[in-house]
Amino acid sequence: MPAPSESDLFPRLNEDGRRLLRRLREHPAAPRYTHQIGDRLTPEAFRRVREFQTDLETGAATRGWSRETAPDWCASHLAFAYREVPFYRRRGAQPAQLADVPTTNRRDLEAEPWAFVPDSQPLDELVVYTTSGTHGRPLSVLSGVEVSAMYLPLLRWALARRGVTLEGGPGKVAIAQVCAQRFTFTFPTIATYLDQAAMIKVNLNPTEWRRPDDRARFLDDCRPEIIAGDPIAFAELMRLPISWRPKALVSASMTMPPILRERLEARFGPVLDIYSITEGGPIAVEDRGEWLLFPRRLYVETVHSDDRPCGDGELGEVALTGGFNAFLCLVRYRTGDGGSLTFRGSQPVLRDLQLRPATVYRKADGRLLNNIDVTMALQRFSLDRFSVFQSAGGDLYLKVAGIEIDEGEIRKAMLDTFGGGVRVAIERMTAEEGGGRVPEHRSEISFQALLEQGLW
């Protein structure tokens, strides 16, 4: 397949964006980038993102939403799903109420992502986004080209609540996404929606750079308005002699230990914690111990195991209806995350959100390992489920579920990831464990304790 052209990658790139991209690619302290990526934002997709932003600003999405009722748009969304989307249509007659619709889950989406695409949706602006999330087995999420850019108005909304303006603009690096992993895709790109500002994604693993001190030099020189990442990447960021203070840090994907938040706020400034999943996009932003839902067309509820909606403040599983992805029509989609929903006045909020903890492991040589690296190491085995536990002594215990399990290869992958001196025991999950909520990553190496003891 021929490599995509610049206009394929950046339909709206202009000379300012081109110049900035070249500067970031050729920067003397830049990392050894591993990828090339564009925003894919066509003029028509740009218009849809602007409409989304306007919708956000008017508050139309939450009209009618109360303890007793779903938002006004839900009824037409449900009718649309049962009329146009194969997965729902083949269930038969549309139930009278949303609460009577059976939930869906990741396995439904894994099995046939095409069944969630409305019949009327043209396919020419389809992108395929692959994520492992917390599960290990990659999930193909079909997406429109505008979906990534739709994160930006949401980010702006969340930042504005903290008095921070994401300006963007020519010549500026708007967002630096930092990771701390063995390997990940790294690149500079231009967000044409932010008026030709750049986004960079870098890996703080020193082996990804020509010189270890290039990490701080490059980030200082880029002067990103926002630094985005996860708690483990931010802990690594804290170790670098960076003098630049961004306007805010944006953390997602794992629970942020309070001690880390305090230190990051003291060193860098405001820290925003966002709850977001690939299938649904950004869902909520942490605010005074609760999670404020973004004012978008995404109905959030919590459900019992038998699909009944939970009551006000009752613990259940977070489920989503709606969303901004024209290729993925969500109706009561179970996220796998626990929580409770209540209202602060007229504002729906999530409480007791049970997100993935920031689990770290210890390699045979004593160095610490991000749980994401273990997920990536297991990805090629297409396991249905896995659970990894490391004891304080360093021994690894794996439980796995799947159709074809090559224990020998899995053991090799773990030894390659952790180092040769680690003991690895592998067991199959019982049927009960496979169907239940066994956490993917657990470790007696406490990230919180490492931070408290100054060992990170």
Binding site: M1, G38, P86, W114, L123, V128, S140, G229
Partner: protein, 192 residues
Amino acid sequence: MNVEGPSFEPLNRRLSECPAEFLAEPRIGRRGLIHVDAVVADLLRDLGGVQRVVDLRPFRTDDPKDRNRLSATLVAAWLLHDDAFIGGRFGEAVLGFLVADIPELAQVVPAPQLVTDVDRREELIRLALKALGLRPAGESAAQAQDRLTTVSTVERRRVVAAARAAEERARAIREAMAKKAEEEVAARYMRE
């Protein structure tokens, strides 16, 4: 078929007792007895629910090829002029049924069989109820759809065509996925 409607048997009996006038020659050009457009107009008035001026031209024709369609329309009009539907504001749904579904049925079933044949009577009744968003009393939506698919050649053709269309669409999406999977996707602006 979200709403439970009338019982099947009384409708079946009514249809089997269709008066001879409704099986008489429909008016086509200058020939025939029964002005089908007038019968439909009366039916819609008595059903209620039609707030506009209705175009009855589909029921007025010079083309002899329309004979079976018009005869089937008369039989359906007899069926639907039942107390179960009168005053129920089904006018728009019935009009849609007569304009869209009856022509399809008339392509495969001679109109008299809609009265004389047990399975064809059931087919007409179930198609009509479905068009009105109703299911026979005592049946679930799934049972009603299942039975309709069993007795109705028209419904079976639709189900097969819909299944074929769905599979073609799924194949088109899978092909697009395979093509697009090699392309660079757009970056996400935060971790997830």
